[in-house]
Amino acid sequence: MERVIGIDLGTTNSCVAAVVGGIPTVIANRGGYKTTPSMVAIAESGRRLIGHIAKRQAITNAENTVYAAKRLIGRKWSDPRTEAARADLPYTIIQGDIGDIRVQLRDRVYTVPEISAMVLTEMKKVAEDHFGEKIERAVITIPAYFNDGQRQATKDAGRVAGLDVIRIINEPTAAALAYGYRKDIQKKVAIYDLGGGTFDISILDIGEGVFEVLATGGDTFLGGEDFDRRIVEWLVFGFAKEHNIDLRNDPMSLQRLRDAAEKAKIELSMTQTTEINLPFIISTGKNDSLHLQRTLTREKLEELTSDLVERTLEMCNRTLKAAKIESDELEDVILVGGQTRMPRVQAAVKEFFGIEPSKNVHPDEVVALGAAVQAHALVTQGDGEPDLLLLDVTPHNLGIMIAGGYFQTLIPANSTVPTSANHMFTTVRDEQTAVKIVVLQGESGVAADNELLGEFILTGLRKAPRGEVEIEVTFDISPDGIVSVSAKDMDTGKEQSIQVTATNRLSDDELERIIRENEEYAVTEAGMEAFGRRRTEVERYLREIDKLRPAVEELMRTSDFGGDALTKADRLIDRAKTAIKMQDAAALDEVREQLERTAQMFKGVAAKLNR
C-alpha cells in the first residue's frame, strides 16, 4: 500500500506522522525531535536553513529569518492585519503583484506559499529519511477558521513542496480524529486549540466511526505569540520609562526580547515567578551598554493576557450556540496546542465547560496524528464500509455581493462539506453579454467587510432583451473547504465560461516557475552538500600544511629550489582559500589534488628532518 503522511503545518511548530501497522505514529527527525520549528532562514551563503538550525541562528540573523509565515499565508496585502504584522516582524514583507504578501530575504523575494513549502519539504524529508522511500502524498492541516484564500495558498505550498495534497483538513478536526480513532465512542466533544498563532474551537459529534463537526469557530490572529507580545510590550515600556529608549527599533534586541518573553511564559506554566535577564540588550553608543533585568510573576502574566483568554471563551460560547447544544451535553473537552499548557488557560476552559479537560492526547502531536489517520483512511477506502468518515463544515458564510454593496449568504457557515448552492443571475440590460459576480466569504452583512474570494465575469451571453437570459451559477465547497464556481445558461443548458479577475491566488504559471526554481535549488543544494564534503577535505590538507610549514621552511631555505616550492605552495593555499570563500566547487576540485600532493611532500620532508 502506498505510504501517505499527515503534516501539521503549525504557526510555530510543525509535525509529521503516519499510520504504521494500523497505529498513528509521530515521526521524529534525525535529531530525535518530534516537532520542527516552522522557521526558515536564508544564510549569508544563500543557503536555506529550515527548522531547528533556522531557530538557532534567529537572533543573529533576525532580518532573514521567517517565523509565523502561517499568519501571512493567503492573506491580502490590503488586510488590516497585514499592517499590524508588518510593524511587528523583524523581516521585511512587501506587496506582491497580485495584492498578496511577499517576503524579502536578502536579495530575493519569496511568496508566502514558497516559505511554507520549505517547511513542508523539510517535514517530507523527515518522513522520507525515516521510511527510506519517496513520499508523495499527504494530508495537511490548517486552522479550521482559515478562509478559502488561506486554504488555497496552503494547498499551493504543498504543490511547491512536491506533495500531492490529497486533503486539507482542519486542525481541531484532526485532533478529534486522533482522539477517537478506532475507539468506538459515541459522544459530543469540544476541541480547544490554542497554538502559536491561531485559535480554533470545534464541536464534534462522534459515533459509528463518523466524525461530524457541528460547528467551528476561531480567530486566525490569536495565539501564543500574542501572549509573548504582551510580555515584550511590558518589558519594552518598562525599559522605555527607565531609559527612554524603544527597544523595538533594534531588530536584534526585539528578537532577544521575544525569545526571552516566550521562555519566561513557558517557565511560568510551572513556576510562580521567573527572572528575565538580558545583559547588553542595547548599546548606547559611547562604549557603554544597557542591561535589562526584571522579575515576572505568574499573576502578572495572567493579568497581561486575561483579555486574550477571555476572547477565546467568547468564541467558545458563540460556537456552542452555532452547534445548537448546551455545554452540559459535551462529554469531553480536548486541549490542543502548546499555549494550552498555561494553567490559567486550562482553568478557564475547565470553568467554562464545567469539565476537566481530557489528558489523553498530546497537545503537540495530536493534530499530525489526526492528519495521518485521515490520510490513511482516504487511501485505504475500499469496497466495504469505510473505517472512518469525516463530516466537516465550512467555517464562514459564502455569498455574493448584491445591489447596494450588501452581502447575500448562499451557503451559511457550519454547513457540512461538500456542499453547493445555486443562484440565478439574469441580465439587467437589453443585449447584455456579461455579468459580474463578486464572491465573498465572511460574517458581515456588508460585502466590503468580508473577504473577497474573487470576481467572476460570465462572458459571451447570448444577446436578448433584459431579464431573458438566465444563468444558474453553482457555488461549490469541496471537502477541503475550497470554493469553486460554475455557471450554466438555463435556456440553452450550455456551460458558461467564467473568468476570474480578482484574486490573490498565485497563477498556475507563477506556481510552475516557483516549482522549477525550487527544483533547481534542490539540485544546487545537493551540489552544496558535495561542496561541503570537498571543503572539509581541503581544510584538512590546509591544516596539515600549516602545521608542517615552519619545519619545511627551515630545511628548504638551505636548498636552491626550496624557495620556489614554498611560493608555489603558498599560491595553492591562497587559491584554495578563495575557492572556499566563493563556494566555488569547480575551483576547489582543481586545487584539491595539488594540495593533497603538497601535503604529502611536506610530510616527507618533515619525516627526513626528524631522522
Partner: protein, 413 residues
C-alpha cells in the same frame, strides 16, 4: 421507468385482439414478439428461445406488457414480478455497463437510490421511520454518509456515477438538515404528504408476515398438542399405569362406601398403589382407603366376637385376635372385644395386654378398667388390679363395689 423483472413461471401470450400490422416495434421487440405469437408458454421457456440476454428480454417483455401487446399471467394470479432488494427495478444495461470503479452491486445500489430520490421522503432517504428520535436520525444519516459521502469513493474513477453519488449525498444531507432541526422537522411533517417510508413498508410487511406466521404456528401447535396427547395416551406405558391406578382407586373408594366390601376396597387400593408407586396423590388416597377398610373389617370382626367365640377353636379365635389387633391397633372398642376373645380362648395374659392398651387409648372408659381389673386379678397381677380398682373408685367414690375391689387387691398384695 423502473419496472419489476417478470417471473420465469409466469405465462405469456399475445393479448387477444392485438392487431400486429398496426404496431410500431423496434427490431428486437418485433423479434421477441415473433416468439410469442401463436403459443402460450412460460416466460422461462420464452427466454430460452428469445436469442438475447435474459435481462434485456425481460425489459422488452415488460414494455410490451405495459403497452398491452402481450398478456403475462402469474400462476395462481399472483404478482408477475418478484420482489428484490431493489424493489424489482430493472437496470439499463447501458447504465450498468458504464465504466466506473464500482462493483455491479454498488452500481445497482446507486442507480436504485438515485431513481428514488424524488419519490422517497426525507425519512425514506435516510432509511428511517417517522417515529425516529434524534439519535436514530443521526444514526441514519451517519449510515447514509458512510455509504454515499464522496470520501467513500475517494480516488475512484466514478465516471457517470460521480454526479449520481453527489446528488444522493446532497439529498441525504438536505433531508438530515430538516429532520435534525426540531422546528423544520415539525414543519415538514405538517406540510408534506408523507407516504410510508421504505423502512416502514418493510416493517409493516414483516409485521404482517410475522402475524401470518404466528397464526400458522398457533394452528400447528394445536394440531401437534392433540397428536401428542393421543400418542401419550396410546403409547406411554407410564401413562397407562397411572390411568389404571386411578381407575382402581376410584373403584376402591366406591367399594368402601358400599359397606361390607372393605376387604375388596383394600385390595383395590393396594393394586392402585402398585400401579403408580410414584404417584403421591394415588398413594395417599389408597392409604386412606386401606386404613378405612382395615378398621371396617376389624369392627366387623369385633361385632361378631360372641359368634366367633362360640363357633371356633381356641387357636382360630386367637388368629382372629391377631388380625383384629393388626387391623385396628388403635381402636379401644375393637381391642376390648379382642381381649374378651383372647380370655375366652384361654390366653388371659394376652387379654390383659389388649385390655391395658385399650384402657390407655381411651382414658375415660370405665369398661376398659373393669376388664383390666378382672383380668389382672385373674392372673394374679394385683399391682395392675389395684391401680385399675383405685382408678374406678376415684371415678365413682360412692360405689361400694369399687371400694371392695380396692380392698381385695390390697389384701392380696
Amino acid at each position: 421507468m423502473p419496472t419489476k423483472p417478470i417471473r420465469d413461471d409466469a405465462t405469456v401470450e399475445l393479448a387477444p385482439g392485438t392487431d400486429l400490422t398496426g404496431l410500431e416495434l423496434s427490431q428486437r421487440e418485433g423479434f421477441l414478439l415473433s416468439r410469442v405469437v401463436g403459443r402460450k408458454q412460460t416466460v422461462g421457456d420464452l427466454l430460452k428461445v428469445a436469442g438475447m440476454l435474459a435481462d434485456d428480454a425481460r425489459t422488452i417483455l415488460a414494455r410490451l406488457a405495459l403497452r398491452g401487446v402481450v398478456t403475462v399471467k402469474a400462476p395462481g394470479g399472483g404478482p408477475i414480478a418478484e420482489d428484490d432488494e431493489f424493489d424489482g427495478m430493472v437496470f439499463s444495461p447501458a447504465d450498468l455497463g458504464a465504466p466506473a470503479d464500482l462493483t455491479i452491486e454498488q452500481k445497482k445500489r446507486i442507480l436504485y437510490v438515485e431513481a428514488n430520490l424524488s419519490r422517497w421522503n426525507h425519512y425514506g432517504l435516510l432509511g428511517l421511520k417517522r417515529t425516529a428520535d434524534a439519535r436514530e436520525i443521526k444514526k441514519g444519516y451517519f449510515r447514509a454518509s458512510k455509504e454515499f459521502h464522496p470520501d467513500a469513493f475517494f480516488r475512484k474513477e466514478l465516471g457517470p456515477y460521480k454526479a449520481r453519488v453527489d446528488r444522493i449525498f446532497r439529498a441525504m444531507k438536505a433531508a438530515y438538515d430538516v429532520l435534525n432541526d426540531e422546528k423544520r422537522r415539525q414543519e415538514y411533517d405538517d406540510t408534506v404528504e408523507v407516504g410510508l417510508t421504505p423502512a416502514e413498508e418493510r416493517e409493516l410487511r414483516e409485521l404482517a408476515q410475522k402475524a401470518e406466521e404466528k397464526k400458522e404456528q398457533a394452528q400447528k401447535d394445536e394440531r401437534l398438542q392433540a397428536r401428542l396427547k393421543d400418542r401419550r395416551l396410546k403409547r406411554n406405558p407410564m401413562f397407562d399405569r397411572i390411568h389404571k391406578a386411578r381407575a382402581f382407586i376410584t373403584q376402591a373408594e366406591t367399594a368402601l362406601r358400599g359397606q361390607k366390601q372393605a376387604a375388596q376396597a383394600a385390595r383395590l387400593a393396594r393394586l392402585a398403589k402398585d400401579y403408580a408407586p410414584q404417584d403421591g396423590g394415588i398413594k395417599a388416597r389408597a392409604d386412606v382407603v386401606i386404613a378405612q377398610a382395615n378398621l371396617e373389617r376389624a369392627r366387623a370382626l369385633a361385632g361378631r366376637a360372641e359368634a366367633i367365640i362360640a363357633t371356633y377353636e381356641n387357636d382360630r379365635i386367637l388368629e382372629f385376635v391377631d388380625e383384629m389387633e393388626q387391623l385396628a391397633p388403635r381402636d379401644p372398642a375393637v381391642l376390648l372385644k379382642a381381649a374378651k376373645m383372647a380370655n375366652s380362648a384361654k390366653n388371659p395374659q394376652r387379654a390383659l395386654k389388649l385390655a391395658t392398651t385399650a384402657a390407655s387409648l381411651d382414658q375415660a372408659s370405665q369398661k376398659a378398667r373393669e376388664m383390666v381389673y378382672l383380668l389382672a386379678a385373674g392372673v394374679g397381677s394385683w399391682h395392675t388390679a389395684l391401680k385399675a380398682a383405685e382408678w374406678l373408685r376415684d371415678k365413682d367414690p360412692k360405689s361400694g363395689e369399687f371400694k371392695n375391689m380396692v380392698k381385695e387387691a390390697k389384701r392380696n398384695l
